[in-house]
């Protein structure tokens, strides 16, 4: 299969040093009537080919906005990106022309949304919507596009794909609908797939099946996978590494195993402690006290300081940088050592 390559963009497997996709110190603001909403305040994460990055954080922490910035589907205005880079194979996507970005979108970086019922167009058949990728981007005929759609529906394990290709989204169950979204997103073999809470709207057994499907597809194609979630339990089995977000910032970046073993940020620690655990059954669940901050008026110093059990005086005045702990690990906490050692203050 040939890929159209916009001028400024290296071809698949081409040069481009470093990771497949790197978000670097990204800032996104929304100009609203109430003021400037600082939704993303210096997010950095990377994902390599064949790698799965889980982006974890409470609702409102800026996970989706970051993803939409990568896709280039933010409404600008009201959104503005005052600072930061999004490097795809070494090229900063933010510096590309709108035309060049359209070439990347959907073909080389694709996205799956949370609620497949509202994310699929209600008035077109699922076959039409999947085959649109081939018709528009590959110039295929309607009939060939439909054949491809059936193949893809088979690939995401939708039973009786040949018959169901002519059905409309509302005629499918929630899980099947999400499979259709997935089929549509992987249609052109993207190099990066962003899944924004792909299982949140589904029940637990279906959640596991969808996760398994995503993991399988990723293994087959070696794409970089960014899994956005607010539920650590969902991604634990499939993720290679985790980026924890709080108030529009990454507070901890680490391999999954390391985070589970010993978190290096008080917020991550709070998240882990609030997961129900079989061995602690019957005990009251821990909950991080307080509320997420107002993005119109972020606290000075460390954004987490009003809720932090480790807080010291300098936390209120000095914003912590992302401290490098090891080559693969970093934490945005002045006292990451103490947290890592498990000393609750």
């Amino acid at each position: 299969m040939t890929k159209t390559t916009p001028d400024a963009l290296p071809a698949e497997g081409g040069p481009g040093d470093g990771p497949l996709l790197a978000v670097d110190n990204l800032h996104v603001e929304f100009q609203t009537r109430a003021g400037v909403v600082r939704a993303v305040n210096g997010v950095s994460y990377t994902v390599g080919a064949g790698e799965t990055l889980a982006v974890l954080g409470e609702s409102g922490s800026g996970k989706s906005v970051t993803a939409q910035a990568i896709m280039g589907i933010l409404d600008m205005p009201p959104a503005v990106i005052p600072k930061g880079e999004i490097r795809f194979r070494g090229t900063d996507l933010l510096k590309l022309s709108e035309d060049a970005r359209t070439q990347v979108r959907g073909q080389r970086i694709a996205m799956i949304f949370q609620d497949a019922l509202s994310a699929l167009n209600p008035v077109f058949t699922v076959g039409w919507q999947i085959s649109e990728m081939f018709r528009v981007h590959r110039g295929m005929s309607k009939a060939d596009g439909m054949k491809k759609a059936v193949e893809l529906m088979d690939r995401v394990r939708i039973p009786a794909a040949r018959q169901r290709v002519h059905d409309y989204p509302h005629q499918f169950s929630g899980g099947m609908r999400q499979r259709i979204m997935i089929a549509m997103s992987i249609a052109l073999d993207p190099e990066v797939l962003i899944a924004d809470e792909p299982t949140t709207a589904l029940d637990v057994t279906v959640q596991a099946q969808i996760m398994e499907l995503l993991a399988d597809l990723q293994r087959e194609s070696q794409m970089g996978l960014i899994l956005i979630t607010h539920d650590l339990g969902v991604v634990a089995d499939v993720a290679d590494k985790i980026a924890v977000m709080y108030a529009g910032r990454i507070v901890e970046n680490a391999p999954v195993y390391d985070i589970y073993k010993a978190p290096a940020h008080p917020y991550t620690k709070g998240l882990l402690d609030s997961i129900p655990r079989v061995d602690l059954k019957g005990q009251e669940l821990y909950a991080i006290k307080g509320l997420p901050p107002n993005l119109l008026d972020l606290p000075s110093g460390c954004s987490f300081n009003p809720r932090c059990p480790y807080r010291q005086d300098n936390c209120v005045t000095d914003a912590p940088p992302l401290y490098e702990i090891s080559g693969v690990r970093s934490s945005a906490c002045h006292y990451w050592r103490e947290v890592l050692d498990g000393e609750r203050q």
Binding site: I73, M111, F113, A119, L120, N121, E132
Partner: protein
């Protein structure tokens, strides 16, 4: 689907009966004597008047009169005769065509201008074009048809002809073929154009906020395709409903326009017949209008199912 249509048609019968009875009562309650009106200024011979009264059942109770009438319509397709013995169906036939032409012209203008302006405004939301379009719709809504009618007749009809020498927009009658309908069609469609513009703007703007629009963008489709294919197809649904329902309104509301432009349609006829207290003609016209309403609504509902696959009639 077939069963649904039949059920809807059966449901329409009481509506039709109710509407005709109502209009029958209203016409009956009008002051004045139709037989006297027939003789104009002259005083009718009481004996002749009495014979005529008997012949047209004017001495019978109201409900009985209604029964004579409606049984003729239902069982013989006979809308009766007026007081000059001309069949009502014959009176209506040619006039109905004129009104239908007028209404269809108006509907086409509505669809083209209203939807067009609405799309334009939606795509330029908050910009000067948008504000200007919104302001002009407001103007169109607030100025009465009577005023737009006369003003346009004067400017585009009379004055334009004086200046250019060419009769581009005929101002009266139907002798110029389809061009005769342009000006009255626009006047009739005026407020509807304005409403449809606003409806289109709102509908498309709302559709463009939908999640599936974001998905379409994320698929790497051009803005044109996202709006024109994914957006418009969804935004169209309420517009078709509005257009369909408006056909009845346009036909029923043509009285003023037909009078201004001297079009001999059913609106004009209705006006004359109410004046002359020709019950059979008034009731006949209203019956046909009610039928048009009912059928237009049925067509809209069926179109709805075609446009929106989530809707199914069994």
């Amino acid at each position: 689907m077939g069963r649904y249509v039949i059920r809807r048609l059966i449901q329409a019968i009481p509506v039709l009966l109710g509407a005709t009875l109502l209009i029958f009562c209203i016409v009956f309650a009008l002051p004045g004597d139709p037989i006297a009106a027939l003789f104009g200024d002259k005083r009718p011979d009481p004996a002749i008047a009495e014979v005529l009264r008997e012949q047209y059942h004017l001495n019978d109770p109201l409900l009985l009169q209604y029964w004579y009438y409606i049984s003729g319509v239902l069982f013989r397709g006979d809308f009766g005769v007026n007081f000059a013995d001309i069949p009502v169906s014959q009176i209506m036939a040619g006039k109905f065509q004129i009104t239908l032409n007028l209404a269809l012209t108006a509907l086409t203008m509505e669809a083209v201008i209203g939807v067009g302006l609405g799309l334009w405004a939606a795509l330029r939301r908050g910009k000067a074009t948008d504000t200007m379009i919104l302001a002009s719709t407001l103007l169109l809504i607030s100025v009465p048809t009577l005023v737009t009618g006369f003003v346009l007749q004067l400017l585009l009809g009379v004055k334009l002809k004086q200046w250019t020498g060419a009769d581009i927009f005929p101002v009266a009658g139907t002798f110029a073929g389809w061009r005769s309908y342009l000006l009255p069609g626009f006047v009739l469609a005026g407020t509807s154009i304005a409403y449809l513009t606003r409806l289109t703007r709102t509908s498309l703007a709302e559709t463009l906020r939908a999640d599936y629009i974001r998905t379409a963008t994320a698929k790497g489709l051009s803005r044109r395709r996202v709006v024109g294919r994914h957006g418009l197809r969804n935004a169209l649904i309420p517009l078709v409903t509005y257009l369909g329902a408006d056909l009845g309104n346009l036909m029923g509301g043509a009285v003023i326009t037909e009078t201004i432009f001297n079009l001999q349609g059913i609106g004009n006829q209705l006006f004359t017949s109410v004046y002359l207290r020709e019950q059979p003609v008034v009731v006949g016209i209203v019956t046909v209008l009610v039928l048009v309403y009912i059928l237009a609504n049925l067509v809209v509902d069926l179109l709805y199912a075609v446009l929106d696959p989530r809707i199914r009639y069994e």
